[in-house]
C-alpha cells in the first residue's frame, strides 16, 4: 500500500516539479552570469503559448499528413525559440540599455501576459484551433522494471527525461567546464573576467538567452505533455515559484531539482489527501517526520562537504535523524482521530513546507556577487 502510494506521489511530484525545474534552470543561467531574472513567468508563458501555436498551426497547415509527434516537436522548437527571443529582449534592456534588471523583468511579465491573452482572445478559440495531443509516455525498457524506482523515474514523457538530462548536464557543465568557469566568473566578478580577456557582455547575452530557451521548455511542457492546448495565464504563478526554487536550491541545478521535488511532492500530497482514503493527521505527521529526517541528512552532507570545521555537530545530526525515525515509527502505531482538513489548507502544504525547510536547513542563500549590477567597462 504505502509503496504504491509513494510511487504515485513521487511520479506525480516529478511531473509537477518539471516546469518549476525548467524555470529555475532559466533563472539560474541568467543569474549565474550576473543578470537577475524575475521575468521567468513571462518567458514560460510565451513558451507555452508559442509551443501550442507552433504545434497546432503546423498540423493544421500540413493537414495532419505528419505524425502528431512531429507537430509536437515543431511546437517545442517554436516555443523554445520564442522564449529565447523574449529573453533576448530582457538581455538587451538590462545589458545594453543597463535598465534595472528587476524593471526589465517586470516589463517582460507584463508584455507576455498582455500579448498572449490578447492574441488568445482574438485568435485561438478552441473550436478554430485545437491541440494535437501530447507526447506519449516512454517506458525505458529495463530500468522501468526496477521496483519502486522504475515507475517513479522511468515511466515518463520525453520532456521529463530531457529535464533529468539537463539538470545533470548543467550541474556538470557549470562547475567542471571552461564554459561554466567563465559563466560563474562573469557573475561573480566581471572585472576579473574582463581582465583575462573574457567578453563579459557576450557571456551575459548568451546565457540569458539560453536561460530563456530553458524557460521555453518549462512553458512548453505544460502544453505538450499535460494540458495539450494553451490556456490563458496557464503558468499561473509557476514562474515566481521557479524563482523561489532557484534561490532555495542556492543557484545550483541539483539544488533546484531537490527544491522543486520537495515542492511538487507536497503539492501532490495535498491533492492526494483529497482522495479521502488517508488520515490527514497521520499524513501530516509523516511529512513532518520526513522533513526532519531530510534536514538531518542535508546537514550531514554539508558537514562532510565542509572544508573547515564549520557545521552542526555529528551528535546533533544523529539525534535529529533518530528523532525523525521515532516519529515515523510512532505515527504508524497510534490511531489518529478522523479529521478532514479543509482543502485550502491541504493546498498550503508546499508553501509552508518550503518556508520551514528553508529556515530549517538551507544555509544563508547568497547569490552570485555581481548579480543585478550592470557591467560598466569604462
Amino acid at each position: 500500500m504505502t509503496s504504491i502510494l509513494l510511487v504515485s506521489l513521487m511520479s506525480l511530484a516529478i511531473i509537477k516539479a518539471a516546469p518549476l525545474i525548467y524555470g529555475a534552470l532559466c533563472g539560474l543561467m541568467s543569474e549565474r552570469s550576473g543578470v537577475v531574472n524575475i521575468g521567468i513567468e513571462g518567458m514560460m508563458l510565451t513558451g507555452a503559448f508559442m509551443a501550442f501555436m507552433g504545434s497546432a498551426l503546423f498540423s493544421k497547415w500540413t493537414g495532419g499528413v505528419f505524425n502528431p509527434n512531429v507537430s509536437l516537436v515543431v511546437g517545442l522548437l517554436v516555443g523554445i525559440i520564442s522564449a529565447a527571443l523574449v529573453a533576448g529582449l530582457h538581455a538587451i534592456l538590462s545589458i545594453h540599455y543597463k535598465i534595472d534588471q528587476v524593471i526589465s523583468g517586470t516589463v517582460i511579465n507584463l508584455l507576455a501576459v498582455g500579448l498572449t491573452n490578447y492574441v488568445a482572445n482574438a485568435y485561438i478559440d478552441p473550436t478554430h484551433l485545437s491541440g494535437v495531443g501530447v507526447f506519449p509516455v516512454w517506458k525505458i525498457p529495463l530500468l522501468s522494471k526496477i521496483p519502486i524506482l522504475g515507475p517513479i523515474f522511468f515511466e515518463h514523457q520525453p520532456m521529463i527525461y530531457l529535464m533529468f538530462a539537463l539538470v545533470l548536464f548543467l550541474q556538470y557543465a557549470i562547475f567542471n567546464t571552461p564554459w561554466g568557469l567563465r559563466l560563474r566568473s562573469v557573475g561573480e566578478y566581471p572585472q576579473a573576467a574582463d581582465s583575462v580577456g573574457i567578453n563579459v557582455i557576450k557571456t551575459r547575452y548568451l546565457n540569458v538567452i539560453l536561460g530563456g530557451a530553458l524557460a521555453g521548455l518549462g512553458g512548453a511542457i505544460m502544453v505538450l505533455e499535460s494540458v495539450g492546448r494553451f490556456q490563458k495565464l496557464m503558468t499561473s504563478g509557476r514562474g515566481f515559484i521557479a524563482l523561489a526554487v532557484m534561490i532555495f536550491g542556492r543557484w545550483s541545478p541539483i539544488g533546484a531539482f531537490g527544491a522543486a521535488i520537495l515542492f511538487g511532492f507536497s503539492e501532490a500530497l495535498g491533492v492526494r489527501l483529497q482522495f479521502g482514503d488517508i488520515n490527514h493527521l497521520y499524513a501530516l505527521v509523516v511529512v513532518a517526520a520526513l522533513a526532519v529526517i531530510l534536514t538531518s541528512i542535508v546537514w550531514g552532507i554539508n558537514r562532510l562537504r565542509n572544508r573547515s570545521t564549520k557545521g552542526k555537530s555529528p551528535f546533533l545530526i544523529g539525534g535529529i535523524f533518530t528523532l525523525g525515525l521515532t516519529i515515523l515509527y510512532l505515527a504508524n502505531q497510534v490511531e489518529f482521530p478522523k479529521v478532514s482538513v479543509p482543502i485550502e489548507f491541504l493546498g498550503l502544504l508546499p508553501y509552508v513546507l518550503t518556508i520551514i525547510v528553508l529556515t530549517g536547513l538551507v544555509k544563508r542563500a547568497v547569490g552570485p556577487a555581481a548579480v543585478g549590477k550592470p557591467y560598466e567597462k569604462q
Binding site: G228, K232, S236
Partner: protein
C-alpha cells in the same frame, strides 16, 4: 512626469465622445465576472447567449458590448457605465453581482437586467422579485447528479473521478455534491474521487495544468471516467484523461462542441444552457414578455455524439428515467442517503 502626458489623447477625443452605435433597436451590454469572456465556461456561455439574442433581434454587431471585470470592486462602475452609455438590456454573470445588479435595477426601472446565477433575494435572502430583473438560475446539483449517474453506469473499473474548480463557488459545490450522489445512486460500490482546486479565485478556474496533473493522479488511481466542472481547470483534466484513455463528462456547455480535443472520449455534458437561457430572455424583452424574478433553466445531458454507439441502450433508458424523477422532484440530489456524499449540502436553490 507621466500624468501630464496621458492627457494628450483627451484633446483628440472630444468629438468621439458623443459617438455611439446608430440604429440599434436595443443596445445590449454584458459584464463578465472576474474572469475572461472566453473562459470556455459560464462567462463565455453568457456572452454567446448575448450574441445569439442579438442575432435573433437582428441587431448590428456594435449594438452589443462587453466589459471584463478584473476586480470585484469594479462591479458597480462596470454595470453603471452601460447604463450611462444608454444600453437598455444588461446581462451580468455570476452570483457575486446579484445584489449590485438589483440595486442599479431599482434605480433604472426602464433598463432590463438579466442576472446569470443570481437568485432574486433581498438582504435577508428572502425571495424579492423585481419587474426589470430576471435571475437565470440552474439546478447544478441535478446536472451533476445526471453526470454522476452516467459515470456510475459507464465505469468498468468502478473508480470514477471528478475535477472541480473553486469549492467556495456555490454552483461548483452543487455540481460536486450532485455528481457524487449520482454515482452512488446508480452504483453504490463505485469509488468516487472528487478533487477541488485548492487555490483562490484568481487561479482555481484557470489552472489547466493543475487539472491535467490531477487527472493523471486520478487515472493512476484507476479512474476510467473523469468529470470536469470548473472552467479551464476542468478542460485540462478532460483533455489529459482523454489522452490517457479515460472517458470524460463535461459541464455547462456541450463540451463536445467547445473542446475538440476530447470529441472521441466525451460521453456527454451536464448542460447548463445559459446560451439559450440568455438569448430567450433577450427575445422576451422585445416580445414584452420579460418575466422578472427567478427563472430556472433546464438541467439535462448533452447528446452522446461520437460515443452514441458505446452507450448501451439500457444505460440511456436508465438516465432518461432518472432525469424524469429529478424533474418531478422524486429524487433530490441534496438529500443524504446511505453512502451519499459525506458533506451533502446544497446552498439552497428554492424551486
Amino acid at each position: 512626469s507621466p500624468a501630464v502626458q496621458t492627457k494628450q489623447p483627451t484633446a483628440v477625443d472630444q468629438p468621439v465622445t458623443q459617438e455611439a452605435p446608430q440604429g440599434c433597436a436595443y443596445k445590449i451590454g454584458f459584464v463578465s465576472d472576474v474572469g475572461k469572456i472566453n473562459d470556455q465556461s459560464f462567462n463565455q456561455a453568457s456572452w454567446t447567449g448575448v450574441e445569439e439574442g442579438a442575432k435573433a433581434l437582428g441587431l448590428a454587431k456594435d449594438c452589443i458590448s462587453f466589459i471584463e471585470t478584473t476586480d470585484s470592486a469594479d462591479y458597480e462602475t462596470n454595470i453603471r457605465s452601460f447604463v450611462e452609455e444608454g444600453y437598455n438590456i444588461i446581462i451580468t454573470s455570476g452570483f457575486a453581482m446579484g445584489q449590485i445588479t438589483r440595486k442599479i435595477a431599482t434605480e433604472n426601472p426602464d433598463v432590463y437586467f438579466i442576472g446569470v446565477d443570481q437568485q432574486q433575494v433581498d438582504e435577508n435572502f428572502a425571495p424579492a422579485p423585481l419587474a426589470n430583473v430576471t435571475g437565470l438560475n440552474f439546478h447544478e446539483d441535478i446536472g451533476g447528479f445526471l453526470a454522476g449517474a452516467t459515470a456510475g453506469l459507464m465505469t468498468k473499473s468502478n473508480v470514477v473521478g471528478g475535477v472541480f474548480g473553486c469549492q467556495f463557488i456555490p454552483a461548483v459545490a452543487r455540481y460536486e455534491v450532485g455528481y457524487y450522489n449520482g454515482v452512488k445512486f446508480v452504483n453504490p460500490n463505485a469509488k468516487v474521487i472528487d478533487i477541488y482546486h485548492p487555490g483562490s479565485i484568481d487561479v482555481c478556474f484557470g489552472d489547466a495544468t493543475f487539472g491535467s496533473e490531477t487527472a493523471q493522479a486520478l487515472i493512476s488511481e484507476g479512474a476510467d471516467v473523469v468529470y470536469g466542472a470548473g472552467g479551464l481547470t476542468a478542460n485540462g483534466a478532460m483533455i489529459t484523461s482523454c489522452n490517457q484513455g479515460a472517458l470524460v463528462i463535461g459541464t455547462d456547455m456541450d463540451v463536445f462542441l467547445t473542446l475538440p480535443e476530447v470529441k472521441d472520449c466525451i460521453i456527454t455534458s451536464a448542460l447548463k444552457d445559459i446560451v439559450t437561457g440568455v438569448s430567450d430572455l433577450i427575445v422576451a424583452v422585445s416580445k414584452g414578455t420579460f418575466p422578472g424574478g427567478d427563472t430556472f433553466g433546464p438541467s439535462m445531458l448533452a447528446p452522446y455524439h461520437n460515443l452514441d454507439a458505446q452507450v448501451p441502450a439500457e444505460v440511456k433508458a436508465k438516465l432518461e428515467d432518472i432525469a424524469k424523477k429529478l424533474a418531478s422532484g422524486e429524487i433530490d440530489p441534496c438529500v443524504p442517503f446511505e453512502g451519499s456524499n459525506p458533506n451533502t449540502f446544497c446552498v439552497p436553490v428554492n424551486p
